[in-house]
Subunit: 189 residues, 2 copies
Amino acid sequence: MVYGCLMAVDPDHVLRTAAALLTRKSTATMDEVAKAAGISRATLHRHFAGRDALVRALESLGIAECEAALDAARLDEGTASEAVRRLVGAIEPAAGLLGFLYTENQLFEGEEQNAGWTLIDDRISALFRRGQLSGEFRIDLTPAWLTEALYGLLASGAWMVQSGKGAPKDFQHMIVELLLGGALRREES
Amino acid sequence: MVYGCLMAVDPDHVLRTAAALLTRKSTATMDEVAKAAGISRATLHRHFAGRDALVRALESLGIAECEAALDAARLDEGTASEAVRRLVGAIEPAAGLLGFLYTENQLFEGEEQNAGWTLIDDRISALFRRGQLSGEFRIDLTPAWLTEALYGLLASGAWMVQSGKGAPKDFQHMIVELLLGGALRREES
DNA sequence: ACCATATGAGACGTGAATGTCTCACGCTGG
DNA sequence: CCAGCGTGAGACATTCACGTCTCATATGGT
């Protein structure tokens, strides 16, 4: 037996690893998560009471990363289009985790969902609304739908990159261009 | 007997019910599926060897409905935009099921996925490519990405309708307008 | 040197879901 | 009327993941 030379597992490292794993395989067991993080299942349970607690922690991580991206994107500066572009670029590293949580949240039928998401939704919706008020964005698509669509496109983009069907370098361009400009060709004017 | 004998359960009805249930709760058990269909678990097992077989059957159903929608949308007629609009309208009833299968397929890591999806992807991609060749669609977004984005938007739209955050009557408009026109306001010309 | 602490390994019990089986019932067709 | 078939109900074994537990060991501080 090799008794590792270690003290104090870094909970954050465990979370990151778990996020990366669950992003690829959302049904991974606690054992797989532990192995992926390089710790034993017992230790994993010592840091996260159970699978629920782990998912909750991942949710908090996802919310934190979203808020960090929202802050970094400075949604109030410049045109709304520029802000959206910055936002997608900043949120890209968390896109996979968001996709996992996005589908995971649909299982919390009756249970109350973390209030953090509401705040995030509101901030993104506010961005789209700002674009509408400034005449930059069309007004027949509600901010709520644009927000939801952004989530969907982020998930699709992350999935495409992960499955190897798309290049990571195209991630931001693909999403922003489709979200803002759509598939139709613009008249040069 | 040639004719289905008596209280023969209608497998198609069972599938539809299962699709409706799993769309809402992707982790529903065989027991829940059976109860939802109004049959016993034993009978459910008699028609579908196991959960795997059930999911496979649902996959076939989803593929069939997609192909039916593709046929009904007459993708070769009129402008590509019109075809996309018809496609989204035709595929709307199956959007929930597609969303379920979309996330379910990501679990089939090593396993081969049904070849039917490839055919569907190709037909949709061909539509977008047609739009590009005719100068209708922009060429900096690949047909593959536009196809994937369509799936993502369908899933987002279906989820929004299901959660009550959006009206079913807006489904087609929301998706088509965003996919084709994007969020940016067009110059009146 | 000693002791507290954190970890790894693994055993153990529990619960849920699955898949298989049997048996009794009711309907249909002959 | 009777035989056949599909069904419902339920028992049963199995698998799997989870959560808890114990114990040996290595590390770090005192």
